[in-house]
Amino acid sequence: MSVLIYAENADGKFKKSIFEAVSYARAIADQQNTALTAISIGDVNADELNSLAKYGADKILNAANAQLKNFVNQAYASVIAEAAKKEGADIVVLSNSFSGRGLAPRLGVKLDAGVVDGAVELPELNGGKFTVKKTAFSGKAFAVVELTSANKVIALTPNSYKIVEAAKAEKVEGFSVETNESDFKAMLKEIVRSTDKVSLPDAEIVVSGGRGLKGPENWGMIEELANLLGAATACSKPVSDSGWRPHSEHVGQTGIAVSPNLYIAIGISGAIQHLAGVSSSKVIVVINKDAEAPFFKVADYGIVGDAFEVVPKLIAAIKEHKALV
C-alpha cells in the first residue's frame, strides 16, 4: 500500500497546481500511514525533480527517454500504471489538468480503480467508507463520491488545496519501462504555448469581461488590468460566441470552470450558466452599471458603475499601490 502522485511538467517545469497535488497526495499518504512516491515523465532536470521532495514525496521516479519526451496520453497512462503496480500504490493522485483528465480514466480502467475527477477536498474515511468531495453540475453543487474499489484514482482541481511544505530527503530514481508501440499512435505535431499570458485554469486572479464592454476593441483595459495583477483574462459566453475573444477564455457552464482566489467580473450580468463556472472562486468582485445585475447577489465586493470609468480608476489605483510597496 502506498500513494503515487503523477507530477506533470510543462516544458520541464512543475507548476503550482502540481505542488498542490503533491501536498494533497502527501496528506492522503499521512491519512493512510504510508509512503508517497512521485513519478515524473519526460525531460525534467534534477533540481526540478528534487523540488517534489520539498512537498513530501518520499521517492521520486524519473521516467525519461526520447520516446516519452512529449505527452502521449496512452503511453503516459501505461507508464503511470506500471509505476503504481511496481510501487504497490493503491491510490494514484493527479492534477485535474487538461492532460490529467485524459489520464485519469485510462488509469481507472488499467488499475481496476474507481475514479474521482475534480476533487476539491481530502478524502474522508468514515466507517470503512472512502469518500471524496468533487464539483458537480458545473460548479452549481458538490457531490460526495464513495470509491468502493480497492484501487483509487483521484484528480485534484487546481487551486482547491493549499501547498504545504513537508520536506523529505531528495531521492530520485530512474524509472525505465518497456514501452508498447501501439501506445504511440497519436503523434504530436506542434505545441503552441502563449508564454506571455497567465493560463486561465491555473490563474490565482482572473479578470473577466462581458458584453458590457461593447466590443473586442475595448479589451485593452481588461488586459492592462490583468497584466498589473498578474491575472489571466476570461470572458462570458456571448463574448466568445461573438468571436470577440477565443473560446478558451469562455468561463461558465459550457466553457471552463475556474476557482481562483479573486475573480473580477466586468460588464457581465451573471447568468446562471456563467455563475456556475465561477462559484468556487474565493473572492468575487463585480463591476456593472446595472445595480440589479444578478451577479451582485453572489459577489463579495461590487461597484455599480460604468466599466469605462471604473476600470481606468482601478488601473491607476493599482499603479499607485505598486509604487508604495
Binding site: 510543462a10 475514479v115 452549481k140 470509491l147 457552464q253 466553457g255 461597484i303
Partner: protein
C-alpha cells in the same frame, strides 16, 4: 466513414440545482432535460464530416426510456440511427463499459463524446472507452480535421494547444471550437420519427463508485459596495481586507 457519437441526457443549463431525500438525490422535479451541449458539438462535427453520403453517424445513449426525446433530437440534427442501452447511467465506468461492449461487436472509425457532461463533469467516458477498446484517446479537443487516413486534432492545454495527428480509429472528447451546434430543421424533425432507434439491454458489470450525498456551495455574505467615484478604494480592500492582491 462510420462515426459513433456518445450522448448524455442532462439538466438544461438554466436549471437551479436542488436535492431531495436529505441531499442524497438530485431533484428532477420540473427540470427540463436536454442533449448535453458538448455532445451537441460532437454530433454537429460528425454530421459535417459525413455530409453528402460520406458516411454514417450513430448516436448511442445509456439511459432509460425517458431519454428518448433527447435521442430523437440527435436524430433530427442529422444522426443516421440511434442505439439506447436500457439502463440508468450509474457512473462513467458503467456507461463506458456498456458502450465498449457495443463497439466491440460494431466497430466504428471514429468515436466522439462531449468533453464532459454538464451534470457530473467527469470527462471520463472518452478515456475509458479508449482504454477498454485499446484505442488512442484525446480528452479535450478544439478542432478536428481529416487528412487522408488520419485526423488532425487540436488539444487544449493550459495556456495553449497541442496539434496531433491520429490514425483512425480513435476516441475524442469535443469542446467548443470543433463545430457550431446545429439546430434541427423541419425535415430533420420529421425524418427523426422514423429513423431506426435500437434498444439493447445492458451487460452486467461491477461498479466502483457511488454518489452518497450532495452539497450546494456555501452562500456568500452581503456584497460590499464601493462607490464608482472612489473605485480605487476597492484595491485597498482587496489588499488589506480580502488579502487577495
Amino acid at each position: 466513414m462510420t462515426i459513433l457519437v456518445c450522448i448524455s441526457n442532462v439538466p438544461d443549463t438554466t436549471t437551479k440545482i436542488t436535492f431531495t431525500d436529505n441531499n442524497t438525490q438530485f431533484n428532477t422535479n420540473g427540470v427540463q432535460f436536454i442533449l448535453n451541449p458538448y455532445d451537441e458539438i460532437a454530433l454537429a462535427r460528425a454530421v459535417e464530416l459525413t455530409d453528402g453520403g460520406k458516411g454514417t453517424v450513430t448516436v448511442i445513449n445509456v439511459g432509460e426510456a425517458n431519454t428518448e426525446p433527447t435521442i430523437r433530437k440527435a436524430l433530427a440534427i442529422g444522426a443516421t440511427d440511434a442505439v439506447r442501452i436500457n439502463a440508468k447511467p450509474h457512473d462513467a465506468w458503467f456507461v463506458a463499459y456498456q458502450i465498449a461492449q457495443y463497439v466491440k461487436a460494431n466497430p466504428f472509425d471514429l468515436i466522439l463524446t462531449g468533453r464532459e457532461s454538464i451534470d457530473y463533469n467527469g470527462s471520463k467516458v472518452a478515456g475509458m472507452l479508449g482504454e477498454l477498446l485499446d484505442l488512442p484517446s484525446v480528452s479535450i479537443i478544439k478542432k478536428l480535421e481529416l487528412e487522408g487516413d488520419k485526423a488532425v486534432v487540436e488539444r487544449e492545454i493550459e495556456g495553449g494547444k497541442e496539434i496531433l495527428t491520429i490514425p483512425f480509429p480513435f476516441v475524442a472528447g469535443t469542446a467548443e471550437g470543433v463545430a457550431e451546434p446545429k439546430i434541427p430543421n423541419m425535415r430533420g424533425i420529421m425524418s427523426a420519427r422514423t429513423k431506426p432507434l435500437t434498444v439493447i439491454e445492458p451487460v452486467d458489470v461491477k461498479t466502483n463508485s457511488e454518489i452518497i450525498s450532495y452539497e450546494t456551495p456555501a452562500p456568500r455574505g452581503q456584497v460590499k459596495l464601493v462607490a464608482a467615484d472612489d473605485a480605487g478604494k476597492l484595491i485597498d480592500l482587496l489588499h488589506t481586507e480580502a488579502k487577495v492582491i
